[in-house]
């Protein structure tokens, strides 16, 4: 019986793949407690920036937004900021400690596949995705704010989310060469692939095959 389903991959490569999967698997919030010595604001920012599923989703979202009208950019950045801020606040207020990495990975797959297909999403779809992904990121991070200032933690996380989308959009808008869209589509496919790996890892963890 091979619970990993990796029989086609032999020898050391199997273990390398397992190690890579373990590395990219989203760490539980407790792993970030060492960040508390950085203070509430920076804990929030670093918490988001060290969550691979969050950063992956935000990069995928930015690539998807890059194929749409640039007049939507500000709205998507603002929606990401607001959703993370409100999500973290809501999780903290409700005392909710949720492991939402599977959901976050699913959203990574959605934005990654849509970007790889160069889907020209409308402003409502993009804003909805930004709100959903941001809220999941905020909710997932809220419990890490325990013992810290909620307002500063949420603000740090929200600014980090907005900055991630902004950097990606600045880069996307700056590339005006012909191969640009191909490169961004390739990038989006990587986001989808990593999302699938995280999703698969979470499934195996959830269903007890770890």
């Amino acid at each position: 019986m091979n619970p990993w389903g990796l029989s086609v991959i032999r020898g050391k490569w199997r273990w390398l793949l397992v190690a890579a999967a373990a590395l990219i698997a989203p760490a539980p919030a407790e792993a970030h407690t060492a960040l508390k010595s950085m203070g509430s604001f920076w804990s929030g920012a670093v918490h988001l920036l060290t969550s691979l599923d969050q950063v992956g989703f935000l990069l995928g979202l930015a690539i998807l937004a890059g194929f749409a009208d640039r007049r939507n950019d500000a709205r998507i950045i603002a929606a990401s900021f607001a959703a993370v801020l409100l999500g973290a606040s809501a999780a903290w207020a409700a005392g909710w400690q949720a492991d939402l990495s599977m959901l976050a990975a699913a959203l990574m797959i959605v934005v990654g596949l849509a970007g790889a297909a160069q889907w020209r999403a409308g402003v409502l779809s993009l804003t909805g995705l930004a709100l959903a992904g941001g809220a999941i990121g905020g909710l997932a991070g809220g419990d890490a704010a325990t013992g810290l200032s909620l307002a500063l933690f949420s603000l740090g996380a929200a600014l980090a989310a907005a900055a991630t989308v902004s950097y990606a959009l600045i880069a996307i808008r700056a590339v005006k060469v012909g191969w640009g869209p191909i490169a961004w589509r390739a990038g989006a496919s990587w986001v989808a692939a990593i999302g699938m790996m995280i999703f698969a890892f979470d499934c195996s963890r959830y269903f007890g095959h770890r």
């Binding site: 060492a34 010595s37 200032s149 307002a151 500063l152 600014l159 600045i170």
Partner: protein
């Protein structure tokens, strides 16, 4: 609308309560001489008040009588959070008569002690846990001297135990620690950060022509390059200014008490925030950063002054600390400026977000100002 207003005020008070907390440092000086170990440990009374409860009648001030009644508890608390060991055996710490001293206008309990170790030679190991259980942002500033050799270290929750090998520690190690200390100091100094943030939020904007209202509206600056240059000007001017006053203060050429400096810093934030809404300061923002940076440097002096470093170590410490502060500002700019740049073209950003951020900063700074001028400790209660 009323609910939204109440929520905003609650968030500002909560933010203020958390961030009004001033940098928490203690100064641990240890001298090794002919196998004898003596030390002096300076711990801020405001920090001890949190863990020991010095202000018995809760009137906001700590009297000599209140302090004298708690010396035993202070000694017990402090020396239960410090361990020295040598050659594998624990040293017995013997506290001497405590005193009070002032650093940058703040009162510190001075705890002299001697250590009796099982061996007079061998590597000395220090375990430092003061305040970490209640404040992970607390830092212990260690100065250790032996036969004219002085070394320093910064103790944090992640670096709470150090093995002192004076011969092995290089100047580069020490310089890096001061850079990290400066970086830490600015990242945890929310009043300094808020001031820089108030300047940076309008870094991608410039004042346009006045129009009919007499108030020049903000208009976007074209191009990322120009915004980056504007940001660099602001940060560099602030760094040069605080480096000047920090150096003068650490050298003892300026000595202003924190009861003046801390409210003045709050006032700089208020003025910069008002200027974002209605111009009252020079148009060139780097002039503002330089002028007010001179005041912020005076506050940084409390971080290095009491370490009692010899001249060369002091120069190393000042250099490293200033580089660290600059890196901290760059980190904040890296977080804020890209978003401000992307949003600068939106009328809502210029007309709603920028004024809202400025009003929020103004209210927070006003809260700090009142709290610091009247020593009300309002925000500690709220926190």
């Amino acid at each position: 609308m009323l609910r939204l207003l109440v929520l905003c005020i609650a968030l500002i008070v909560e933010t203020g309560a958390a961030s009004a907390h001033l940098a928490s440092d203690s100064y641990l000086n240890i001298e090794l001489e002919n196998g004898r170990i003596v030390g002096r440990w300076d711990i801020a009374l405001r920090d001890l008040d949190v863990v020991v409860g010095l202000d018995a009648n809760a009137d906001g001030s700590i009297t000599w009588g209140e302090l004298r009644a708690k010396w035993r508890e202070i000694d017990d608390y402090a020396f239960n959070h410090l361990t020295l060991s040598r050659a594998g055996g624990s040293c017995l710490l013997r506290p001497a008569e405590p005193m009070v001293d002032y650093h940058a206008g703040n009162a510190y309990a001075v705890l002299p002690f001697a250590a009796e170790c099982p061996s007079a030679s061998g590597q000395l190991t220090i375990g430092y846990r003061l305040l970490f259980e209640v404040d992970p942002t607390h830092r212990g500033l260690l100065t250790i001297s032996e036969g004219g050799t002085v070394k320093t270290d910064i103790l944090t929750p992640e670096h709470a135990s150090v093995v002192l090998d004076l011969a092995a520690q290089t100047l580069a190690d020490e310089a890096v620690r001061f850079v990290l200390f400066g970086y830490d100091h600015i990242l945890l100094g929310y009043d300094h950060l808020l001031f820089v943030a108030v300047l940076l939020v309008v870094a991608p904007l410039r004042r346009g022509s006045g129009g009919g209202t007499g108030i020049s509206p903000w208009v976007p600056i074209d191009g990322l390059g120009r915004v980056a240059i504007e940001t660099a000007k602001i940060l560099t001017a602030f760094t040069i200014a605080h480096a000047i006053t920090l150096t003068l203060a650490v050298l003892g050429l300026i000595n202003l008490p924190s009861r003046l400096v801390d409210p003045a810093i709050a006032a700089t934030i208020m003025l910069a925030a008002i200027d974002n809404i209605r111009p009252i300061l020079p148009q060139l923002r780097w002039h503002v950063a330089f002028g007010f940076g001179l005041i912020h440097g005076l506050a940084f002096a409390s971080a290095l002054g009491p370490m009692r470093l010899p001249p060369f170590r002091l120069a190393l410490g000042l250099g490293g600390f200033n580089i660290g502060v600059e890196l901290g500002q760059i980190t904040l700019a890296a977080l804020l400026v890209p978003t401000a740049f992307m949003l600068r073209g939106e009328a809502a950003f210029r007309g709603i977000v920028t004024p809202a951020v400025s009003v929020g900063a103004l209210l927070l700074a006003l809260l700090w100002f009142v709290d610091r001028v009247f020593a009300l400790d309002l925000l500690a209660v709220a926190g």
